[in-house]
C-alpha cells in the first residue's frame, strides 16, 4: 500500500466497435491515444452514451479494444490469457461500477472484503480488519452488518468505493461514483477517494458528469464523437467551501 507501485497504462490508436443486434456496427471510440501515469488522477467527462464507461472497461481489462494496442505496464492486453487478466484485475485495478454491483446476500463488510479472497495469505487472513478499516474511511463504520438492500444508493456507492480500494490497487477506475449523490455528499466521497488514492499512491481514473467535481483531478479529458481530447487542467479553483 505504498506509493511506489506506479503502473502506466497506455492506449495506442485504440478503437472500439459494437455489433448491434440488427447487424449494424456502432463505432464508440476511434483512434484513441491516451496514457495514464502512475499516481495521477484523471477525470473523464462526456455526454451520456459517448463511451466513457467503454473507455474505462478497456483500461480495466474488462474488454479489449477492437483495434489498436493497449499496454498495461508494458504488456500488450490482447496477449494476456484469462487467468492473467483475472490476476491483473485483482492485483492492479479497483473498480467502482456505475451501478455498484454489490453481492446481494453479503453484508457491507463482506462485500468490501470480497477482493481479498484472491489476495496473498497475509492479506486474506487480515481481510476483516482491512475491510472494517476501509468501511470506516468511507463513513460506514456503523453499517458493516447491513445488507445492500438496507443501504441507500449513496451508501451502496461508498461500499463499492471501499471495495475498490481495500486491496491497495495501482489504479482505481471509478465510473460516476458520485452520480447518485447530492452535491455535498458527492464532493465528500470524491474527497475520500482522492485522499485515499493519494495515500496509497494509486492512479485514479474518474468518470463524472459533474464539471465542477472534475476540477479536483490532475487532468481532465472529454470523450466526444469517439475521440478523447484534453480539457484545461483541473485543480483550478476549489469546489468545496
Amino acid at each position: 500500500m505504498t506509493g511506489d507501485r506506479c503502473v502506466d497504462l497506455q492506449l495506442v490508436d485504440c478503437s472500439k466497435r459494437f455489433t448491434q443486434p440488427d447487424g449494424s456496427v456502432l463505432g464508440v471510440l476511434s483512434d484513441v491515444d491516451l496514457s495514464v501515469r502512475g499516481g495521477e488522477t484523471l477525470a473523464v467527462l462526456g455526454r451520456s452514451g459517448s463511451g466513457k464507461s467503454t473507455l474505462l472497461n478497456i483500461l480495466g481489462l474488462l474488454t479489449d479494444p477492437s483495434e489498436g494496442t493497449y499496454l498495461v505496464d508494458g504488456r500488450v492486453s490482447h496477449e494476456l490469457d484469462e487467468d492473467e487478466r483475472c490476476r491483473l484485475r485483482g492485483e492492479q485495478f479497483g473498480f467502482v461500477f456505475q451501478d455498484y454491483v454489490l453481492m446481494e446476500r453479503r453484508t457491507a463488510l463482506e462485500n468490501v472484503a470480497a477482493p481479498l479472497l484472491h489476495a496473498s495469505d497475509a492479506a486474506y487472513r487480515n481481510r476483516t480488519a482491512a475491510a472494517r478499516h476501509m468501511l470506516g474511511r468511507v463513513g460506514l463504520g456503523d453499517r458493516e452488518r447491513s445488507y445492500p438492500w438496507q443501504l441507500s444508493g449513496g451508501q451502496q456507492q461508498r461500499v463499492a468505493v471501499a471495495r475498490a480500494l481495500v486491496r491497495g490497487p495501482a489504479v482505481v477506475l471509478a465510473d460516476e461514483p458520485t452520480g447518485s449523490l447530492d452535491i455535498d455528499t458527492g464532493a465528500e466521497i470524491l474527497d475520500v477517494l482522492l485522499s485515499l488514492a493519494a495515500e496509497q499512491g494509486c492512479s485514479l481514473v474518474l468518470v463524472t458528469h459533474d464539471e465542477r467535481l472534475s476540477k479536483l483531478a490532475d487532468r481532465r479529458l472529454v470523450v466526444e464523437h469517439g475521440s478523447v481530447r484534453p480539457l484545461a487542467d483541473g485543480r483550478a479553483e476549489p469546489v468545496l467551501p
Binding site: 472497461n57 480495466g60 474488462l62 474488454t63 484469462e82 487467468d83 483475472c86 490476476r87 484485475r89 485483482g90 492485483e91 473498480f95 461500477f97 454491483v101 453481492m103 446481494e104 446476500r105 453479503r106 463482506e110 470480497a114 477482493p115 479472497l117 484472491h118 489476495a119 486474506y124 471495495r163 486491496r167
Partner: protein
C-alpha cells in the same frame, strides 16, 4: 485456495437458505427413492439369483472329469483330483472343489414306503426291477439309539466324496440340516448329506419329513463299512445332477476310505466356478493341460474331459430384465432429482452470473468459480443425500417392523451399496446443476456478466 473457497461456499449456502433447502430436499427425495429402489432391487436380484442357481447351477461352472473305469487307489485318486483342481484353480475361480465317486451301489430299504397315490411316484421303481438283493434280505437293522435306514426296494445310492467347498460350486440350496464341514472328515460316524431326490426316496412311515431324516443312519453291512449319519439335505440342480443321476449322497473327501473298503470307483471330478465368458474354452484347455500333466505323472492315457455344466442361459436373461427395469427406475428418480436441482439453480442463474462477473472483476479465475460452485454443490448434495439415505433406512426399518414380506433383508447393511451409489449420483447431479451458471459466467465476457 480450496480452503478459502470452501469457506466462501459455506457462507453462500447459509445466506441462501431457501435455495439451499430446496436443492437439498430435491436431492433427499431422489436419493431416498433411489436407495429404496436399489435396495429392494438388490434383494430381488439375490433372491432371483439364488432361485435360478438352485435350478441351473452357478453361471460359469466347469468340470474336469477323469473316468478311469477302475479304482486308482488312495494315492492315485488324490493325486489326479489335485492335478485337475489345480488346473481349474488357475482361472480366478470364485469357488472350486474336488469330488470322487466313492461308491455307487444298489441297496435296498426294508421299511414300507409311504403310501403314494400315483404308483409311478413310488421311490426306486417297483420292488422287483433291480437285481442284487433278495426280497427277504435283512441287510439293515436298528442299533443303539440310531434308527437304521435301509432299502427293501433296491435303488442306486451313489456316494460322492467331496471337498466341503463344493457346495459353493454347486450353488444348490440346503433344504434341511447342514452341509459338510472340514472337521467332519475326522468324526467317528461319517456324516453324509443326501440330495433331496434321494432323501425323498428314503422317507418312510417313521421318517415322514425331510427334517426327520436328520440324524438317522444309513447302513449296508456288505458295502458300506461304516455307518453314514445323515446331517443335511441339499437341493438338486443342474450341477449336482452332473454328479450321477438325481439322488446322491455326499461325504467328506478325506473320509472316503473309511467307509468303502473296495476303494474309489474311478470317477474323479474337479469343479470350479469361473467367468462364464469363455468357460467352455477354458474347460477344454484345462482338460488338455490336465491330460498332459497326468500322463507325465505316470497315468496311462488318462481320459480327462472338460465341460461347462451349468445351465445359466435362463439365469442371465432374467437378471438382465431385472437390471433393465431397475436401471430405468433409477434413471427416472435421479432424473427427477436432477430436474429439481437444475430448476433451482436455473432460477438463480441471472443473479449468479452477475455475481460471478463481479468475482472475476475482483480477481477470481474461471477455475476458482468452478471450484466454488463445486464446493457448494457437493456440500448441499451431501447434506441432502445423507438425509435421504437416513430416510431410506427409516423406511426400510418401518417396512421390516411391519413385517412386509421379503423386506427382512433390507437392513442397514444391505442399503450401504445403493446408498453410496445414490450419493455419488446425487453429488454428480448437484455439480451439473451448479456448474450451469458458472460455465455461463465464464463463457460470456466479464462485462456482459456484470451487466446481466
Amino acid at each position: 485456495m480450496i480452503g478459502r473457497l470452501l469457506g466462501e461456499a459455506v457462507v453462500e449456502l447459509r445466506r441462501n437458505l431457501a435455495r439451499t433447502l430446496l436443492t437439498a430436499s430435491g436431492v433427499t427425495v431422489a436419493v431416498t427413492a433411489f436407495t429404496l429402489v436399489a435396495g429392494v432391487g438388490e434383494i430381488a436380484r439375490n433372491a432371483i439369483t439364488e432361485d435360478l442357481e438352485g435350478v441351473g447351477g452357478r453361471a460359469g461352472t466347469v468340470a474336469l472329469t477323469l473316468d478311469t473305469g477302475a479304482p486308482l487307489g488312495e494315492v492315485g485318486t488324490a493325486r489326479a483330483a489335485d492335478v485337475m483342481a489345480e488346473r481349474l484353480g488357475r482361472y480366478e475361480p470364485r469357488a472350486r472343489g474336488r469330488a470322487v465317486l466313492a461308491t455307487s451301489e444298489t441297496v435296498r430299504r426294508d421299511v414300507a414306503p409311504l403310501p403314494s397315490k400315483d404308483p409311478d411316484d413310488l421311490p426306486c421303481g417297483s420292488s422287483t426291477s433291480f437285481g442284487g438283493f433278495p426280497e427277504d434280505s435283512s441287510g439293515g437293522f436298528s442299533s443303539g439309539s440310531g434308527q437304521g435306514l435301509f432299502f427293501s426296494s433296491p435303488c442306486t445310492l451313489p456316494v460322492y466324496a467331496v471337498d466341503p467347498e463344493l457346495l459353493g460350486v454347486m450353488g444348490a440350496p440346503m433344504v434341511a440340516g447342514r452341509w459338510l464341514r472340514p472337521e467332519d472328515a475326522k468324526s467317528l460316524a461319517v456324516p453324509v448329506v443326501v440330495s433331496k431326490a434321494l432323501a425323498t426316496q428314503l422317507r418312510d412311515v417313521e421318517h415322514p419329513t425331510l427334517e426327520s431324516l436328520l440324524g438317522s443312519v444309513i447302513r449296508d453291512e456288505e458295502l458300506v463299512q461304516q455307518p453314514l449319519v445323515v446331517v443335511g439335505v441339499v437341493g438338486d440342480n443342474a450341477v449336482t445332477n452332473v454328479l450321477g443321476q438325481p439322488g446322491a449322497g455326499f461325504v467328506p473327501f478325506e473320509a472316503r476310505s473309511r467307509f468303502t473298503p473296495t476303494g474309489d470307483r474311478g470317477m474323479i471330478t474337479a469343479m470350479a466356478v469361473i467367468d462364464p465368458a469363455g468357460a467352455e474354452r477354458i474347460a477344454n484347455q484345462a482338460a488338455a493341460d490336465a491330460r498332459a500333466l497326468l500322463t507325465q505323472a505316470g497315468f496311462s492315457r488318462p481320459a480327462v474331459s472338460g465341460e461347462r455344466i451349468d445351465e445359466a442361459g435362463a439365469l442371465g436373461s432374467a437378471l438382465r430384465v431385472l437390471d433393465l427395469v431397475l436401471l430405468a427406475i433409477a434413471l427416472v428418480t435421479m432424473g427427477l432429482g436432477a430436474i429439481g436441482v437444475l430448476n433451482v439453480s436455473l432460477m438463480t442463474v441471472r443473479q449468479r452470473v452477475r455475481e460471478f462477473g463481479l468475482r472475476r472483476a475482483v480477481g477470481a479465475r474461471p477455475r476458482d468459480l468452478a471450484v466454488l460452485v463445486l464446493c457448494e454443490s457437493v456440500q448441499v448434495t451431501l447434506i441432502g443425500g445423507i438425509v435421504g439415505v437416513g430416510l431410506a433406512m427409516v423406511v426400510g426399518l418401518v417396512l421390516t417392523l411391519l413385517g412386509v414380506d421379503g423386506v427382512r433383508d433390507l437392513g442397514l447393511v444391505g442399503i450401504v451399496r445403493p446408498a453410496v451409489l445414490g450419493l455419488l449420483v446425487a453429488v454428480a447431479t448437484g455439480m451439473a446443476g451448479g456448474l450451469v451458471p458458472a460455465l455461463r459466467a465464464v463463457r460470456v465476457s466479464v462485462l456482459d456478466a456484470l451487466r446481466r
